[in-house]
Homo-oligomer: 415 residues x 2
């Protein structure tokens, strides 16, 4: 087994390309390249030029998806990610995977036999206007007219102010289905696990499902000095008691990788000497298992009901629990997972299987074709922040594995 990674370390093209891309929207250490902004569109035009110079058929579609197609193949493996960022985001996030895709396609698409390699940077993965609108539009997944028009008109505005007039591709629903065999995406982990375990590659087995709820307790605002404790309808204390119960309940039923968060808690009117009239929490939990998600939801609902029904001193309060977001978990394709692990072995790189706790374009792609993802470590687990970074050797090791896996995928026929 050769140490492929050591060999790759001498090839600086991925790092150079990432550094060049960083210049679009650079702000200190970080990058501001929000979907549809001038920096985002400039970056896409630059990618387009690289693809064309590399002999690929390059296009931008109506919402901003930037695609380079291998000219000589009927079928292809699709590789890439997204180049838009959150406001004051980091330089890697989706850019890493988009550059892995671009460099792999430019390097290998002429040399593969039956199957080409197409590189993509999807539009607005971060949801500056509409989350994953790019990949949803690309794959013919559901989106609203409003999402389409909002995203397309931002793109048009930026193109106009750049003086660029390009014909934009109008994508027909599911035209990818005849062409694409697999989708492969790389991304920074955005979490601390790989760094803590000192493992350079994470192979993603699936992307978690998300349930988000808004829990509201309604009581009565009273003077907190003159109203005896027994005569209050205190929404604040009730919410604290309830959240603490829910937290303990979740702890008891969690699966090994379940995560949950009380990210928003707020009391109203929010004065030191006024009993809270309204107390609100946003409760989110994520897991790859629908059963676990269902168990969490049932536990939470039971606890809200139990407190509403059974705690006499809190009986005058009203509780409401609204589901505000629901994303279903999705598995990565087993063949792609196998190819990724073989590629790690072939390049002599340690890896671990892991779930993705965040959403990605691969989540959309996986509804339509066999998809897979690999992660490289994030320093300090940080992302969506100017301080976001990864070690250079990890970036290069990741690229070596990604390129190797893409080559493998081109040789696979499954239908």
């Amino acid at each position: 087994m050769t140490t492929f990674a050591a060999k790759e370390a001498s090839n600086p093209s991925v790092i150079n390309t990432l550094n060049r891309l960083r210049e679009f929207g650079q702000s200190g250490q970080g990058v501001n390249r929000v979907a549809g902004s001038i920096a985002d569109v400039e970056a896409r035009l630059w990618i387009l030029a690289q693809l064309e110079q590399g002999g690929m058929i390059a296009e931008i579609d109506e919402v901003g998806n930037t695609l380079g197609r291998s000219a000589h193949h009927e079928r292809a493996v699709l590789v890439g990610s997204h180049t838009d960022t959150v406001p004051t985001g980091g330089w890697l996030d989706g850019a890493l995977g988009a550059v892995y895709g671009l460099c792999t396609a430019l390097e290998l698409s002429q040399s593969t036999e039956h199957t080409g390699i197409d590189a993509v940077s999807f539009a607005d993965e971060e949801g500056s206007y509409a989350p994953c609108i790019g990949s949803r539009y690309f794959f013919g997944d559901e989106y609203s007219e409003q999402e389409f028009i909002g995203t397309a008109s931002r793109l048009q505005l930026s193109l106009a102010s750049l003086g660029a007039s390009r014909p934009l591709t109008k994508r027909l629903p599911r035209d990818w289905s005849k062409r694409y065999k697999f989708f492969l995406e790389a991304h920074i982990e955005q979490g601390p696990v790989l760094e803590a375990e000192d493992i350079p590659i994470g192979i993603v087995t699936g992307i978690v499902g998300i349930r988000r709820f808004e829990l509201t307790v309604l009581g009565r605002a009273d003077h907190a000095g003159t109203t005896p404790m027994t005569m209050r309808s205190d929404a604040g204390r009730a919410l604290i008691e309830l959240l603490n119960r829910i937290d303990i309940g979740f702890e008891q039923i969690k699966a090994s990788d379940t995560v949950w968060n009380f990210g928003v808690v707020a009391f109203s009117p929010g004065a030191p000497n006024v009993v809270p009239e309204r107390a609100t929490a946003v409760i989110e939990f994520r897991d790859r298992s629908l059963d676990v998600l269902a168990k969490f939801e049932a536990t939470m609902r039971d606890m809200v009901r139990a407190q509403a029904d059974q705690v006499p001193h809190l009986a005058s309060l009203r509780y409401s629990l609204q589901c505000t977001a629901q994303l279903e978990p999705i598995d990565m394709d087993v063949r792609v997972i196998e190819v990724l692990s073989r590629s790690c072995d072939a390049t002599g790189v340690a890896y671990r299987m892991m779930q993705s706790g965040a959403g990605h374009d691969a989540m959309i792609a996986a509804r339509h074709l066999p998809a897979g993802m690999l992660f490289i470590p994030s320093i300090g687990g940080r992302s969506h922040h100017p301080a976001e970074d990864s070690r250079k050797d990890h970036i290069q090791i990741g690229y070596a594995v990604f390129r190797e896996a893409t080559k493998y995928l081109c040789t696979l026929d499954y239908d």
Copy 2:
């Protein structure tokens, strides 16, 4: 025992005076008469005119205290409260006690023998600029130069815009000490106790002390999807756990009338998918006993320390606990309490002893001379709100007791 209350119900002067005063700053059902505003100063000029027409020596001092002195007596009982309101406040609050004082002085000050009756409306009890600055200035209690100048200049501005030029009294520290034997204040209860027990009069035994703390937990903001539960420094869950413990701890050590409140709780950055980096709560508790207040503070400090030291999974968090307000409890004068209970008996009115859970001008006065307070019921316990109200018969019963008690106090000599 005659039913004095029934006799009083035929005397409408208190209700008429309250209704007239309500016109200054009226806004719907409520009143906007913030200290130093034109409405506040107009009300004070109107009170001044009533006092002068009643043959009293009337004055407004440099901060707005409005005082009517009995012309023929060396010594006097001081009666009254304040006529300023919170923004969009109610029509009674301090106005009730100020009008009781005004009407009692106008009705009785000519007829008492050795002792006069002086009526006062203190400035800015509500702390629109500085809490109780009026009574603190009046009694020569501590105040800062900034508080004095801020309050005085608001008054001057409003007087100027009203075209009123009056010489304002410059109050010498403690000049009241030779004149005043007692201070008596009436107020609406601002709580639900009297209404719930159907008792028209509360005799205040003392005013609670207040301790207010800001509790902050500092952790680290992480992606709430990609960061495993065991690798987080979650300030939000830690605060919920801690507040729940403190709440249970307070419940175990409370005295019969202790109250506490978690009026402000806020998480930052406050996003559903970000682990809270900073979680803050404002904790307030009130009791008449210094021992109880000290026990509450010690319990809270122990619990913060215990969680910081002993809960391993929360060890990476930092806790801070800052005292942001401290007011000492104060007892009402026993002789005044006795006089009030005798007056209730004489007028055939039921009463109960109770503490005041809110601060009042009597709290300042009681540091300097024997002071007492009586409460009448608040409908629904509401105050500091346009819906604030009291039953008309309760307003009249309260006045009867107040007037009777003032007469008694004029006959008492204690030095």
